[in-house]
């Protein structure tokens, strides 16, 4: 198999998966070895995000330990009519608080945002974005592996996630000025 063909196959997997895929999943589907897959993914990222940057509205990124093809941020608003609705803003903020402070006691989250904490925790847990674990009389909240994958964050450990959120928040604050 030629390298070109391998690139096309991995591209087609990223295109059709609808969710971030792991190197192992690609391996199972294609039979290619890990090294080759990693190399090809790097090339694809280079193609989409550097070489053909201005000639495509899509990007290929690393999300958690997985890889995904998604729309570039600047085009997401423009397609919103056609695609699925977003997660509610308040819920996203609550999720951000949990991700930033994790592990966070539910009782502390309640102090931060009031009684709606319980409902939000329920919703986020049912979306599998957070874990809850009994801790004395309260629950201890952490984000799941799905969290960085879902939002396309290239970070897996809490400290990295924290830094990412810090940076993003400052960016957003700047934009509003």
């Amino acid at each position: 198999m030629s390298t070109k063909e391998e690139k096309r196959i991995i591209e087609s997997i990223l295109f059709s998966a609808s969710k971030p895929v792991s190197i192992n999943e690609i391996k199972e589907t294609t039979g290619l070895n890990t090294k080759k897959i990693k190399k090809t993914l790097e090339e694809l990222i280079e193609d989409y995000n550097v070489k053909r940057k201005n000639e495509t509205s899509m990007e290929i990124i690393k999300a958690g330990d997985k890889y995904t093809m998604q729309l570039k941020k600047q085009y997401t608003d423009k397609t919103i009519m056609i695609t699925q609705p977003e997660i509610e803003k308040h819920l996203l903020k609550t999720l951000t608080l949990i991700a930033f402070h994790q592990p966070l006691k539910q009782s502390n989250l309640r102090r931060m945002i009031g009684t709606k904490a319980y409902e939000h925790v329920d919703q986020l847990a049912s979306m599998k974005l957070i874990h809850t674990k009994k801790h004395g009389t309260t629950e201890m909240l952490t984000t799941t592996k799905l969290f960085p994958e879902y939002f396309g964050i290239d970070a897996t450990d809490p400290e990295e996630i924290k830094n990412f959120l810090m940076k993003k928040t400052i960016e957003k604050t700047k934009q509003q000025r």
């Binding site: 397609t79 402070h101 009782s107 993003k168």
Partner: protein, 294 residues
């Protein structure tokens, strides 16, 4: 002092910090400041001798007197007032500066961006250009590690959350035959296991209810209970939807009423008239489904 609401805010603010900090050491410090705040309320701040503590007391005093919201302090305004007050009270300016630095660390993110804004605003207020942020000591002090608070504060004030939900393709394909058969195999197995567990549960429920009914036989509690169950059942039957929440059935949202209704619906569920379920244990809403609803 004259404004109890603001005082409450300041205490709340301290308690919030305490809840975020697990280290014994820092909690002790916050306890100390909490205590200090109480003393200020009683007009005792004059007795504080340590210049550092006095400086902190001054900060609290300023927040209370100027009716500042501790969750939302305009730091430039605050530092201006604070430095003025520190001069009046003859507190050594290095300590005062450290306090401001600390407050800045606590309340805002330590980003060059924010620092820059502060500097520009500072320069506009000519009176205090002599105060140089860069001269502040970068020593470790209480709460300097407390960026979580400043982050929370900043996030709450930012209208847009930092997380963007990316747009990906919603690709779906048909189920393959192999998947269908796999599902069938698993479903059979799970249904058998479920039935076994249900059977055991039913027997245990039966035993407990018999026991409870035996105990209550002939008591007034039993009479009340039968009546309560009947009332709740009527309400469920009249409810315009098949599914309702526990609170939909309570006239008053009081503890006693909720417990009364809950016990009744548990009996109704036992009699197979309704299904009771909770989305998440233990805080999730309790729902009731009327089986015979049409």
């Amino acid at each position: 002092m004259e404004h109890p609401e603001i005082e409450y805010d300041v205490i709340n603010h301290l308690l919030f910090h305490k809840s975020l900090i697990d280290e014994q050491n820092n909690t002790e410090k916050i306890n100390y400041y909490e205590n200090m705040l109480r003393k200020i309320r009683e007009g005792e701040h004059i007795t504080i001798e340590d210049p550092f503590d006095k400086s902190i007391a001054l900060a609290f005093e300023l927040v209370i007197q100027q009716h500042l919201n501790p969750w939302d302090i305009d730091l430039v305004k605050f530092s201006t007032m604070y430095m003025k007050k520190a001069r009046e009270e003859k507190i050594d300016l290095i300590t005062a500066g450290r306090i401001i630095y600390m407050a800045w660390k606590v309340l805002k993110l330590q980003s060059d961006d924010l620092l820059l804004i502060m500097k520009t605003q500072q320069q506009e207020e000519e009176e205090y250009t002599s105060f140089n942020w860069d001269d502040l000591p970068v020593s470790e002090m209480w709460l300097t590690e407390n960026d979580p608070y400043s982050y929370t504060n900043l996030l709450m004030k930012t209208p847009e959350p930092p997380l963007d939900v990316p747009v990906r393709r919603e690709n779906k394909r048909k189920v393959t035959l192999i998947e269908l058969l796999d599902a069938f195999n698993q479903a059979k197995k799970e249904a058998e296991e479920y039935q076994l567990i249900e059977q055991q549960r039913r027997e245990e429920r039966e035993r407990l209810t018999q026991l409870a009914r035996k105990r209550m036989k002939g008591t007034t509690v039993e009479d009340h209970l039968e009546k309560d169950i009947a009332t709740v059942w009527e309400k469920i039957k009249k409810f315009p939807k098949k599914t309702m929440s526990l609170l939909d059935l309570c006239e008053k949202k009081e503890r006693e009423e909720i417990i009364k209704v809950l016990i009744s619906i548990l009996f109704l569920a036992y009699d197979n008239k309704i299904i009771v379920y909770q989305k998440r244990f233990p805080y999730g809403k309790i729902f009731i489904k009327n089986i015979g609803y049409s």
